[in-house]
């Protein structure tokens, strides 16, 4: 009897030690993840001179001046506007196309139904960046190089496979009777889609929006290749201006970085449920 309780006590002790080390590991890692971000915000409040004098201390003043500077003098208002406009338009275009395509695949039986779906599925695996050269030439031929539209179209197209995949799954879960009832009540096919089905897949639409908005907001590759004019640049591309070969304005650069990161951070904190469902939907089989 006594020996047995001894084993139990040992086990409990071991368990406690393990738990302690787990928390220690988790905390150390959390610091590695948080500290660079804290430093980014602190640096953003400093002038470049202050930054070189004291790179790690608190800023002398907590004035918003660096942010206003970067917003007005460094064209960040333009970049921000471009980023918002491009990502939002692409999302709207994508939702429009993807929901119609997914609805057709999920609800209508036509000859190449499955083929179309497989086509979209294959698209998930193919990174659109590898198609950059034909895309570049296409944009050039269409006279779209150096326009916002080139990015909007590219993003909307690249978002299609994943979005169709998510939305088709959702549309399939809606009972067909709902649509039939609406038809009896006098809706035409498009009204059934628009008034009955679309509102029902709203959670999936939120997921699709987030999954696509985040990489587009952060994208650097396509703006780098498509956009030349300063007034058309998006935030990630615009930021690289501060990083000169010989002189870097660290103060301004970091204010710009904070401005670039805050919108998604807020989105993430308030919509983490959609974030998680969006990012895991493709990767985990339900």
């Amino acid at each position: 009897m006594t020996s047995r309780t001894g084993v139990n006590n040992n086990n409990q002790l071991l368990e406690k030690i393990l738990t302690f080390f787990n928390y220690l590991l988790l905390t150390v890692l959390a610091l590695i993840f948080i500290y660079p971000l804290v430093l980014m915000v602190l640096t953003a409040f400093k002038s470049t001179r202050e930054f070189f004098f004291d790179p790690f201390g608190l800023p002398d003043t907590w004035s918003l001046k660096p942010f206003i500077d970067v917003w007005q003098k460094a064209n960040f208002n333009t970049y921000f506007f471009n980023s918002v406009l491009i990502a939002t338009s692409a999302v709207i275009l994508l939702i429009f196309c993807a929901s119609l395509a997914a609805y057709a695949i999920a609800r209508f039986d036509f000859k190449y139904n499955n083929l179309v779906f497989m086509f979209f599925l294959a698209g998930i695996m193919i990174p659109i960046r590898l198609g950059i050269l034909p895309l570049f030439i296409l944009m050039k031929n269409l006279n779209l190089l150096d326009t916002r539209l080139s990015l909007i179209l590219t993003y909307a197209a690249s978002g299609m496979p994943m979005s169709v995949f998510i939305l088709t799954g959702f549309f399939k879960t809606i009972p067909t009777e709902l649509g039939d009832a609406a038809r009896v009540d006098g809706c035409n096919k498009f009204q059934v889609f628009y008034k009955i089905m679309l509102p029902l897949v709203r959670p999936a639409l939120a997921t699709v929006t987030i999954v696509n908005f985040v990489p587009w907001w952060n994208d650097f590759f396509f703006p780098l290749l498509f956009i030349n004019t300063d007034a058309l640049k998006t935030i990630p591309l615009g930021m690289t201006i501060f990083f000169g070969q010989y002189m870097t304005d660290w103060g301004l650069l970091f204010s710009g970085m904070v401005i670039a990161s805050v919108p998604l951070l807020i989105l993430y904190i308030f919509m983490s449920k959609q974030f998680i469902s969006g990012l895991t939907s493709g990767a985990v089989k339900g």
Partner: protein, 281 residues
């Protein structure tokens, strides 16, 4: 309706076609990439870096990442907080991540070096990104810092999908923690792990932004961090390091097609393996 996708996809499948029309080169572009001195060395160099990039990321995320996911899935104090924190870098732009770590890793006034000095390890301070021996691994670790939130998140979702009954049954049968992991959790997680691995592979063989921002388009120092995508970029749109030579669209397309083949074959076998290993319960 699906026109943008069809045209983009169609173009990406047939990219070399359009370019052959200009040059009537046949497979010559591929031959040049793989056999001529000018490209061959850079191509294998970059391919090697991409492979190291993927292997290190894969090993870290399936050990540390899976371990963290298991810890975070437990219903314990603070786990939601840790989960949120680990995921934050994933929402940042690669450009932001690149600049941030350029600052942190700066050998003279970067936080990382200062930290080492304070810890009395001053002689360990090195120009991490500036010397050939450490540059690639440093870039890989920075990328990992941003990336790890994603595998953790997906693993967590996978772990939560494992029916609780199975764990309980194993515990009642007297399984130790390790046995529980080895014979119940891990086999059931293989599909999720495979899926994440395939996604990681695709990502890492497309990696571009971080190296471009931190090390320039030629993967400084002296191509030590050059990746297929930066090599492709230089070839397609000109290389500032060799006097602004203009792009070679044909050669670049051949590189893109080779990248596509590598990714395609790897994903295909990845999915095949995943389907074979899948455990039904």
């Amino acid at each position: 309706m699906v026109y943008p996708l069809i045209s983009a996809l169609g173009y990406s499948f047939f990219s070399w076609d359009g370019l052959m029309r200009e040059s009537f080169a046949g497979l010559d572009n591929f031959r040049r990439v793989l056999t001529t001195v000018r490209y061959q060395e850079k191509f294998w160099n970059a391919l090697g870096h991409n492979t190291i990039f993927f292997v290190i990321t894969f090993v870290l995320q399936t050990t540390l990442g899976l371990y963290l996911a298991i810890q975070l899935t437990r219903k314990r104090f603070g786990m939601d907080f840790f989960q949120t924190v680990y995921f934050i870098p994933f929402t940042l732009s690669m450009v932001v991540v690149g600049f941030l770590w350029l600052l942190l890793l700066n050998p003279t006034w970067g936080a990382f070096s200062q930290g080492l000095k304070v810890a009395g390890l001053g002689e360990w301070v090195q120009p991490w990104l500036g010397q050939k021996s450490t540059a690639l691994i440093t870039v890989i670790m920075v990328n990992f810092w941003r990336w790890i939130g994603f595998p953790i998140l997906v693993y967590k979702a996978g772990l939560m999908g494992i029916p609780e009954v199975l764990n309980e049954a194993a515990v009642i049968d007297g399984a130790s923690k390790w046995q529980l992991f080895r014979h119940v959790t891990f086999p059931l997680m293989i599909p999720t792990i495979s899926m994440v691995t395939i996604i990681t592979f695709i990502w890492d063989f497309n990696a571009f932004d971080l190296v471009f921002v931190m090390q320039g388009s030629s993967g400084n120092p002296h191509y030590a961090t050059d990746l297929l995508a930066t090599f492709f970029y230089r070839t397609a749109f000109g290389d500032p390091t060799i006097g602004g030579a203009s792009g070679e669209i044909g050669i670049a397309s051949a590189i893109a097609v080779l990248m596509f083949i590598i990714i395609g074959i790897a994903s295909y076998f990845g999915i095949r393996m995943m389907q074979k290993k899948e455990v039904k319960y």
